[in-house]
Amino acid sequence: MSESTLSTSARPAPFTLGPRARRLVILVGLALIWESYARWLGNSLLLPSFLETLVALWENLRNGELPERVRASLGILLTGYGIGIGVAAIITALAALSRWGESLLGLLTAMFNPLPAIALLPVALLWFGVGASSLVFVIVHSVLWPLALACHAGFRAVPPTLRMAGRNIGLTGPSYVVGLLIPAALPSILSGLRLGWAFAWRTLIAAEMVFGASAREGGLGWFIFVNRSQLETANVFAGLLTVILIGLAVESLVFSTLNRLTVQRWGQEA
């Protein structure tokens, strides 16, 4: 009997695909469903077909409109993301080194993490006026708290033995944070960075739509907003598709690579 189970498990399955191929098949399937449903619906004002959206995407890429919008959005996004990471690093380092810092972080995240970034936009407009600074402010808010929370959780999860081993070889203060806590907490930090990136994107697109009414120039969110009001639905979908494509690209190029080079290689993956 054991022989027969062995031979069944050893026989290759008739239809096996790698993870990449599986994902591609799913994507093609989704596109097909979209295309056929849109054709059946026959109302491109409500739902343009997949091909119409691709054409709109191509048009807007070629006439330079979309690249310009993407550039504007990414510029603000990266500024906010960078500042958010910097502030999160300072707060979590304080929290790792002192009890007061830990209480501060705990209280601040409990207060501000549930607060949607968009809710702060009116305040930001009041303080910074209509412009990039207001957007950067709300993005910093949306990145900072989830990232600080993830980093802090990562620091707390560092095994006590590893902490003692670090202090034993003479790590103290900043060298303890940089030489031990950060690399040991890297799996949590990376997932916090991923989460922060996603939050930053959402906040930016949403904030740009609020802005759209008042600002002449804008990014992707504004592009989507303006095209909706002009009933250019295919362009709206092209804008959405661009947001998704950038998200996928960053995920597969940046975060997956970081993950492979660090936590996977070190066997730290949860």
Binding site: M164, N168, G170, L186
Partner: protein
């Protein structure tokens, strides 16, 4: 490979590498204050290997952590070459029982080299050269570039031991380093540790709950009794009694066993009744005589 200058160079005829003077360790729990160690005193001379032997919960690991500088003494003083211990430091390298004491993001050589860089201020090239040498000495020559998660438990402990020896501390602190290993690896590692100690003349404090391990590794054995942790008895182990299977080893093992369990316990029943009494807690390891 040349030797590094010893840390905390002792003055000739000066204070011993380690002096524990009337140390009491208490800590707070929800239930109140627990006294883990009460009024314990001993010294370790240069080149001595002191085995601190006792059942789980007798405070021996707590005491080792206080010597390492991770815990403050409630009263009494711990002195390293005469200077009071205030904080952790690489002049007292610790080998822990747990396998996660290595930095997972550094290779075997990287772990040893990082300790050398931090603790002894060596340059990158020299620290790696020494690290590779030490990896080879503990049998990890072929694994110098391996990350810890690819190693077995025994290999991780070898790396931790190499890291501790490489730094050449004033005293090596070993907190049941082989307790989580299988019996066969444990025996082999004990022999290899003994060789390394004798070769380097290292001063050691070795915490264990196994009588045979204490006799094999230690030049002196302190037996601790629990609740609160106190020194119950002291034995010195002559070279002749270090090898398992020799009559001297057996005699000393028996003597310590009786000291711990009390002479009143009948031989045949002792193991069974001990198991029954300490059901939930890890039991003191009793190795029956050859």
């Amino acid at each position: 490979m040349g030797w590094l200058p010893p840390q905390n160079q002792p003055a000739a005829g000066g204070p011993p590498p380690l002096a524990v003077e009337h140390v009491t360790l208490r800590y707070q729990t929800d239930a109140g204050t627990v006294t883990a160690v009460e009024d314990v005193s001993f010294t370790i001379g240069a080149g001595e290997r002191l085995a601190l032997l006792g059942p789980s919960g007798c405070g021996k690991s707590t005491l080792l952590r206080a010597v390492a500088g991770f815990l403050k003494t409630s009263s009494g003083e711990i002195r390293l070459h005469g200077a009071p211990v205030r904080a952790p430091g690489p002049d007292r390298m610790v080998v822990f029982q747990e396998f996660d004491q290595l930095l997972p993001w550094r290779t075997v050589a990287g772990n040893i080299a990082f300790a050398l860089r931090r603790a002894r201020g060596l340059g990158r090239a020299e620290s790696f050269e020494r690290a590779r040498d030490w990896a080879g000495r503990v049998g990890l020559g072929g694994f110098a570039d391996a990350y810890p998660h690819t190693l077995s438990g025994g290999m991780k402990q070898r790396c931790a031991i190499a890291r501790a020896f490489a730094v050449q501390p004033a005293i090596l602190l070993m907190d049941e380093p082989f307790a989580a290993l299988d019996a066969l690896s444990r025996r082999r590692m004990q022999d290899e540790l003994l060789d390394l100690c004798e070769e380097t003349g290292a001063t050691c404090l070795f915490v264990t709950h196994a009588i045979d391990e204490a006799l094999h590794v230690g030049t002196r054995v302190l037996v601790m009794t629990p609740h609160p942790g106190r020194i119950g008895a002291e034995y010195s182990v002559p070279d002749a009694a270090r090898q398992r299977g020799t009559p001297d080893f057996g005699r000393l093992e028996m003597e310590i066993q009786q000291r711990i369990f009390g002479a009143a316990l009948p031989e045949a029943k002792s193991a069974a009744s001990l198991a029954a009494r300490t059901d939930a807690r890890p039991r003191l390891e009793v190795t029956h005589n050859v």
